[in-house]
């Protein structure tokens, strides 16, 4: 690693923040009449239901699991009766099953819930798996896999990601303001059981001065934890960007952060970890931001997992106008959904609904080669050139242009004056490369 005193900031775009809900204290949404718990809410092997129709379940009781390590168990967020196991296609297009539980509104806790006994790394990782935790920032990567290190002695840095660079979303910010101590406790747990961590960075965009202040206060007697204010320039919360800007290390092709000695965890994930070790209550609810022009009362709310979006919107005062676009996640990387009966998944951190005005899009036109996408890309890729190479299906050129490194942050498509769908092109180009790769 070359010693650089000043770490250069990666590029990005200045996106309007729309942090309308930052001062809204989290409200707890009461359990809905029914929850729909998909068996795939994570990257990895799908779970299969361990309950049958007609079974009675309690809050925090296991409803679906998988014997593979690369997976994450699913728990019931309500007490009541399993009324159906129905087919479901998740947002990534994976066909799976929903465990549908009808709530009895008693919210009885499962008797088996107790704080896990953890004395060593092995037990810690088992507890993390049992908690049902996946990366809550968006990717849904099972946390216990991330923390199972091949070379533990190499990992010396923990980065806690509270950049929250996506517009609209304030749930991570509310997590700091309301459960800040849990973040610090979570850091201590990971530091104790994982790798040889000697330095911890908490990355926060500088548009959240109160969060920075609070974290500095909470960490003032811990010299190894450094709160890192980052310039508010999307996408500072991207994993490789955060690693580079805190440590100067570059995660190259085919590498994972642990290869450069870093673990990155989302602030909400790490706070949940601390809460779980204290109470033993698995991941059954999630703090999300509900906002957008079509929502009557935008809120930050704690919602039982599996609650349908239509019920969440109802809790937020219903639709203010006919919704035309609904997003799971933020506007830069969020997924548009086709139906508001979708259930809330573990890794959702926002639900945004927009009306006609925000949905209207200018049709895309020919590239004028202005170079804005090239100047915006945090990874210095050349989206316009990738676009042309993809139109020509030029596999060699796509490889030379390193399209595989694109993280799909959306900066290129954001700045494009011709409104070209550059992110979509990059995805298709990556697909083309995968399909053209020689079969093993």
């Amino acid at each position: 690693m070359s010693k650089k005193d000043v770490i250069k900031s990666l590029k990005g775009v200045a996106v309007d923040h729309y942090k309308n809900t930052e001062d809204y204290v989290t409200e707890t949404m009461p359990e809905p009449d029914r929850v729909y718990l998909p068996c795939v809410q994570h990257m990895g092997a799908p779970c299969t239901p361990v309950v049958k129709v007609g079974d009675l379940v309690k809050v925090g009781q296991l409803v679906a699991d998988c014997d593979k390590a690369f997976s994450s168990p699913i728990y019931s967020s309500v007490s009541g009766k399993v009324v159906a196991l129905e087919d479901f296609i998740n947002p990534q297009g994976v066909r799976t099953q929903n465990v549908v539980v009808e709530a009895d509104h008693q919210q009885q806790m499962y008797e088996g819930i107790a704080p896990p006994k953890v004395t060593n790394t092995q037990e810690f990782l088992k507890a993390v798996r049992d908690s049902g935790l996946v990366g809550l920032g968006g990717a849904g990567f099972p946390t216990h896999i991330k923390l199972s290190l091949r070379e533990p002695e190499k990992v010396d840095t923990l980065c806690v990601n509270i950049a929250e660079c996506e517009p609209y979303i304030t749930s991570d910010y509310r997590n700091v303001m309301e459960d800040g101590q849990d973040i610090i406790d979570g850091i201590e747990l990971v530091k104790k059981y994982v790798g040889k961590i000697t330095q911890v960075f908490i990355g926060v965009e500088d548009n959240k001065p109160k969060a920075i202040q609070r974290l500095q206060l909470l960490t003032q007697d811990k010299p190894y934890i450094k709160v890192l204010p980052m310039r508010s320039q999307y996408p500072k919360g991207a994993e490789k960007v955060l690693i580079y800007e805190s440590t100067g290390r570059v995660v190259g092709d085919g590498m994972i952060p642990a290869d450069v000695g870093v673990i990155v965890m989302n602030g909400t994930s790490i706070a949940f970890l601390a809460q779980y070790m204290k109470t033993g209550v698995p991941l059954i609810s999630k703090r999300i931001t509900v906002d957008g022009s079509a929502i009557t009362n935008p809120k930050n709310i704690r919602v039982p997992l599996g609650t349908r979006f239509v019920d969440i919107v109802q809790f937020c005062g219903g639709y203010k106008e006919q919704p035309r676009k609904m997003l799971m996640g933020g506007p830069m990387m969020g997924i548009a959904i086709y139906d508001d009966t979708y259930p809330l998944l573990k890794n959702n951190n926002a639900l945004l609904c927009f009306g006609e005005k925000e949905t209207k899009a200018i049709p895309s036109s020919a590239c004028i080669r202005c170079g804005r996408c090239v100047r915006a890309c945090p990874f210095s890729l050349m989206p316009a050139a990738i676009d042309r190479a993809y139109q020509a299906k030029d596999v060699e050129k796509l490889k030379a242009l390193c399209v595989g490194r694109c993280m799909e942050c959306g900066c290129c498509a954001y700045v494009c004056p011709a409104k070209r769908n550059l992110v979509l092109t990059n995805r298709l180009a990556k697909q083309l490369l995968r399909n053209s790769a020689p079969k093993k």
Partner: protein, 311 residues
Amino acid sequence: MSQNLVIVPSPHLKDKATTSSVMLDVIIALIPTVIASAFLFGPRTLLLTAVCVGCCVAFEYLFCMVTKRESTIRDLSACVTGVLLAMNLPVSFPLWMAVIGCFVAIVIAKQLFGGIGQNFANPALVGRIVLFVSFAQYMTRWETSSGLVVASATPLGLLNQGSSELPSYLTLLFGVHGGVLGETCALTLIIGGLYLVWRKVITPTIPLVYIGCVFLFSFALGVDPLYQILSGGLMLGAIFMATDYTTSPVTEKGKAIFAVGCALITVVIRLYGSYAEGVSFAILLMNILTPHIDNLTRNVPFGGKPAKSKK
């Protein structure tokens, strides 16, 4: 409940800038120069500009109609070409010849190569060069009927003839001398350039490197460098023509190489060529090299150079 929700790929937020807003910015940046020309050369400036803009838009509209494509006149790029072409003509230029220039620029240089973003050379520049070689005597006729400027040769023409009475720097800055409409007033061109940089329509690389290198090369070859950068089409070319998106390299490194090449050719033509002026030929030649410069100056992406794949 089915609500007819719109499904589109991310990102769901887009910047306000559009192709037409970018082109509008270029037109706004050219307005001071158009006004200055009207003062310097008289009201026929406005007539010539209006004819060029009108013809460029009309040719683009007609081409799209004939080839059964969706009309692209709303992106305003044809307007920009029209204004730029007009700024490259002397005030007394016959209108019917200007129409030919517009046809060459829009139909031959731009649309036949695929329209906006696909042309290999700046359309206005091609229009100018075709008019220059076809109607040389009309393109170098500097008499005016009204306005501040009286008939005189261009500053570079005077220099070429070995004239002893050269205009002062201040005269050059305000453009009170002979020349094509848009090239004389350096001041308004610089204001337009600053506006484009401020609006982030262009990066300052090409104008700065181009003008800076012309200054350096002229100085090295023993001619008055300040006189060289303030006269002829250099300001107009460096700020408005060489920065054309489609025909200049994408990366800053590529832009710098492009601009150095432009400067070198310009100075060589001015000092040793048979023409007094070399900006338009310089930019045209570098336009042709742009795809190669682009290939040689690709960004190194974050994570280092890609692994070499076999040829």
